[in-house]
Symmetry: C2
Subunit: 267 residues, 2 copies
DNA sequence: GAGATTATTTGATGCAGATCAACCATAAGC
DNA sequence: GCTTATGGTTGATCTGCATCAAATAATCTC
């Protein structure tokens, strides 16, 4: 496996490559993807996996590279970014505990997106070869992979629908309502990511996001730095016209959508 | 299965519900999705499946409805459309032989897109319940489902990247080059779909598509109705900056991307 | 904590692309 | 064949959003 050595050479000194710790296994095991897997297979995967700490702003992988590892965010936050011709855009931000680049690993082909840490993060990396061997051997794991991929696909369909059908004001309003819903309809929450990143995810410029937020202050939203407060839910709802076929959730209350991480509720 | 009866009642008189014909089975069997399946399982699926002819412009299913059937286009052409708040957009057009709404069937939840025939079409419908039972029973089929879903996911990621990273002129130029590539770099081809549909797929209005095509006439493209001819590939390439991570193909020459069907070469 | 970065906001301006409206072309119906 | 839809083009105009520029605010560094 050339991939294995590469990663070791590349990061060993700065980040400290480790095998997966006993204490972090239960959290990974609890993921829908690994939950139903045979214990022996899970242990095998963990044995060949690496676990590393990365500093913020570090490129974990670049689009176009061959997919060597399934990545699991155990701690921290990772941005999935797409680049083309000097432009770039945020496709998703994943927080603990979830996986990314599963599809590329399965197809044994190039990553379509780059990934970089947004904050200090702990990432578990499972070699793609072993991953593929695992679900060829374990039907329950194969089932979990199927369900995971179907969910990822649908969440990307939603992202595309959102972009094609709504304008940026509507997208922002829908985003705000969605974050609130993820916090049990809390009226206030703090943004889970920087505004420039949110802007990119929503397909707009930071300037436009800033102005659009100001606009929404007359439509039921109060903005205070990273803290947003819904002051008139009805008005915002009229504007966003939330739709489960765009905003989710897929099924009631499963909420581990791929997209942006959940915000934290606030007074 | 309420779904079964419903479809029979709904379409019987006009379209003629049939069981899958012997003669169309081999074509379906050849699909990557069904190719490696155990023969007994394939036969079972075909036994419970329906096969119907539909007239053009007929709604096969509506977004939001529970996913009762995996659909297979055996003949004709089907548009996958997304709707929201009175607006609508084309997400993909599928031709023979391929499947759609696999992910919704697997998650046993609502369709995210509506589907309607663009021309007279023959559709095979496999009950979602039986489909799920099939890959729970057949590991080879499960593998094929995994690969299919991974491909669908990646093709939707590409669609989103295309929308977020390129402007409409670039998207059109890239589309033209891609169609040419699918025809062995043929300089000319006829559009596989109406222009209004292409416009919607590319995320622009018909008026804008028309004008953009005219613009491209000074950048190496000749437009003659449905027939497009590349007169200066270098110029178009400079404009589109084709990228396999957006335009495909995923792997060399597999070319059954979800997106728009292949054009026919001309000239 | 002073200085240096980096994120955010605000303003001025430009442009890509939408919208509205009319006209032309192609195809379908009788 | 003429007529009627429907799709496509063209023109005029409008506007949402990007871009460029500069000021503030927040965050990091030493």
């Amino acid at each position: 496996m050339p991939g294995h050595d590469m990663i070791i050479i590349k990061y060993h000194s700065e980040a400290g490559v480790r095998f997966v710790r006993e204490q972090e296994k239960p959290d990974i095991r609890r993921l829908p993807l690994f939950r139903d897997m045979a214990t022996a297979n899970f242990e095998t995967l963990m044995q060949v996996a690496y676990s590393q700490n990365f500093p913020p702003q570090l490129d974990l992988l670049r689009q176009g590279e061959p997919a060597d590892f399934l990545h699991i965010v155990v701690e921290g936050m990772v941005e999935l970014r797409a680049e083309w011709g000097g432009r770039e855009t945020t496709m998703a931000v994943v927080g603990p505990i979830s996986t990314f680049v599963l599809a590329a690993c399965i197809k044994d082909t190039a990553y379509l997106m780059s990934a970089r840490t947004l904050e200090k993060s702990r990432i578990v990396m499972v070699p793609a070869v072993d991953l593929r061997a695992a679900f060829r051997r374990d039907p329950d794991f194969a089932m979990a992979v199927i369900v995971d991929l179907a969910g990822s696909y649908r969440s990307m369909v939603r992202h595309a629908k959102n972009l094609k059908l709504r304008n940026s004001r509507e997208r922002l309003a829908a985003f705000v309502l969605r974050q609130s819903a993820l916090n049990g309809q809390a009226p206030g929450f703090v943004l889970p990511v920087e505004k420039r990143l949110l802007a990119s995810y929503l397909g707009m410029t930071p300037e436009n996001l800033s102005r659009t937020m100001r606009q929404l202050e007359s439509e039921g939203l109060k903005v205070d730095g990273q803290r947003l407060i819904i002051t008139d839910r009805a008005a915002l709802t009229a504007l966003a016209q939330p739709d489960p076929l765009i905003d989710g959730p897929d099924t009631e209350l499963t909420a581990e959508e791929l997209g942006l991480p959940r915000a934290n509720a606030v007074g």
